[in-house]
Amino acid sequence: MGYRIFALIAVALSLVAQPPRGGRGGPPQSPQAMAPIDLTGYWVSIVDEDWRFRMVVPPAGDYMGVPMTAESKKVADTWDPAKDEAAGEQCKAFGAPAILRQPEHLHFTWQDDHTLRLDTDAGTQTRVFHFGDSKEPAGPPSLQGDSVAAWEVKGGGRGGPPPDPNAPPQGKGSLKVTTTHLKAGYLRKNGVPYSENAQLTEYYDMIKEHNGDLMLVVTIVTTDPKYLREPFIITSHFKKQADNAGWNPTPCSAKW
């Protein structure tokens, strides 16, 4: 009796200790093959938070909600969209820390099996999420920076039966993206700045609502010792589209 119990415990332990996907022995699977959630396709932002900061250009000096430093306010108070456009800096509010606050459509595709690509129609921007060691060599800082991605698969993947492909996507796992090497830009269209020292951490989660809507929830954390007193934490949400309806690439604008 006792030996049977211990045998059962040993089997249970071995199941718990299994890697999330792919198993042992075979070649390691690519990030694309291991993806616990499928982000590919088109998504549309739903703007029912911070509407007046996102759908239109807020007035100069409207900084509500952003944990700015005094130095940040000094810089923001000099905001001049005409000057930005004249200098070819009309994309400053379309950098990685702010791009997912734009009213827009997203398009996720796999560039290769280690690289997830995110295109936005707002500002016609492209973000590239590198898994593992496939990070691009660092050049000059850029609007979208260098992004390193990793899947986060927690309790749901250990042991037990294989995932049900028809089960809701929530809880199967998340995409974590860390972005550095950013060119300075704006957190908001009215010139609230982030510096070249800003770092961005994002979590991409998918959830399915009762009516069948598939939602993408992105938790966005920006840290910037120069212009932020504490991490700036916001959450954007998007609804999955069946196709590219509404996809409308537009150039950056500092005035609209």
């Binding site: 009796m1 006792g2 119990i5 211990f6 415990i9 249970a12 718990v16 549309v44 932002s45 739903i46 703007v47 029912d48 938070e49 509407w51 007046r52 759908m55 239109v56 807020p58 007035p59 100069a60 000096g61 900084y63 509500m64 909600g65 952003v66 944990p67 700015m68 940040s72 306010k73 009213p103 827009e104 459509h105 707002a122 927690k154 309790g155 749901g156 250990r158 809701p168 929530q170 809880g171 998340s174 974590k176 979590y203 989660d205 959830i207 609502e209 009762h210 009516n211 939602m215 929830v217 938790t219 007193r229 934490i233 916001i234 959450t235 954007s236 949400h237 509404g246 409308n248 609209w256």
Partner: protein, 294 residues
């Protein structure tokens, strides 16, 4: 090996395992009002219905609302349904209640905070009450784990604020909230479905930060008081008489048609409709935030 020692071994083994597909949500979670800061703090601008997917009834009801209704003893508390968790400014204190015999979690509990009642998320599989059962400020909530995400469904609420400027939910509304934990961050992604006032679900997502500061309630749940509204009087505006209907245009230059909401105002394509009607005001006039405060 005796039977008792086998049981003890099994119990110790099981106690050491994480419950599969569950995470610990317990603790104190600080609200970071970095988005919708005005809405969650002092309260939204009057006449700001941007992004609200309501129907004509919902819009008409919102325009009739006078904030002075909050001075009525009957309504001073009742407007705050469980949705206040998403649109209020407060943090979250959360814990699990455990069956003392089986050790299983039978409910997750979010502590009350002033105007919002406690939310008890039943995890023991009990059904929601009959649709004819009485409604309450607390409502009735059940939860299920979808992998590492707790999904809570709340029904049987009283009518309450969807946005704290008179946009209402009916007592037929259902609230679904997904609790997503990433380390020290707790994101709540919530939707309200309301067949009476909304044409499509209304979504809100918020992130809270784990803290060692105790996120206790600021006191007992709301206590009704007499603030001088004459008995039998309901402060309101008659149709077409709301004096604050153009507040968003005056303060932010936002066209009134956008401020009046509707599902389309939440989608990117709507910007094309108002592009030629919007003019950025030269300077922020009030509630401007900045380094001195959020």
């Amino acid at each position: 090996m005796t039977r008792n020692s086998i049981r003890l071994t099994l119990a110790l083994f099981c106690a050491g395992l994480p419950a599969l597909a569950q995470v610990d949500l317990s603790g104190s979670w600080q609200s970071k009002n970095h988005e919708d800061a005005l809405e969650r703090g002092a309260g939204p601008n009057p006449g700001d219905f941007t992004g609200i997917p309501f129907n004509e009834s919902g819009r008409a009801f919102a325009l009739m609302n006078s904030q002075s209704q909050l001075s009525m003893p009957e309504r001073i508390c009742a407007f705050y349904s469980q949705w206040h968790l998403m649109v209020g400014t407060f943090g979250v204190k959360m814990w699990n209640e455990v069956d003392p015999v089986t050790g299983k979690t039978i409910a997750w509990v979010i502590a009350p905070w002033e105007d919002r009642a406690e939310m008890k998320i039943w995890m023991d599989g009990r059904p929601h009450p009959s649709k004819n059962a009485p409604h309450s400020q607390e409502g009735f909530t059940t939860g299920v784990w979808d992998g590492d995400v707790l999904t809570a469904t709340t029904t049987h609420m009283l009518t309450g604020y969807l946005r704290r400027n008179g946009v209402m939910t009916s007592d037929q509304a259902t609230m679904v909230t997904h609790f997503i934990r990433h380390g020290d961050l707790l994101t709540l992604a919530s939707e309200i479905v309301d067949p009476i006032y909304l044409t499509e679900p209304y979504y809100i997502s918020r992130t809270f930060v784990n803290t060692t500061n105790l996120m206790n309630s600021g006191g007992p749940p709301c206590i009704p008081g007499d603030e001088g509204v004459p008995e039998g009087t309901v402060p309101h505006y008659l149709p077409g008489k709301n004096p604050l209907v153009d507040e968003m245009t005056k303060v932010y230059g936002i066209p009134q048609e956008a401020a009046m909401g509707g599902a389309e105002t939440a989608y990117p394509a709507y910007r094309d409709k108002i592009k030629d009607k919007f003019k950025t005001p030269a300077k922020c006039q009030k509630n401007c935030g900045g380094p001195a405060g959020l």
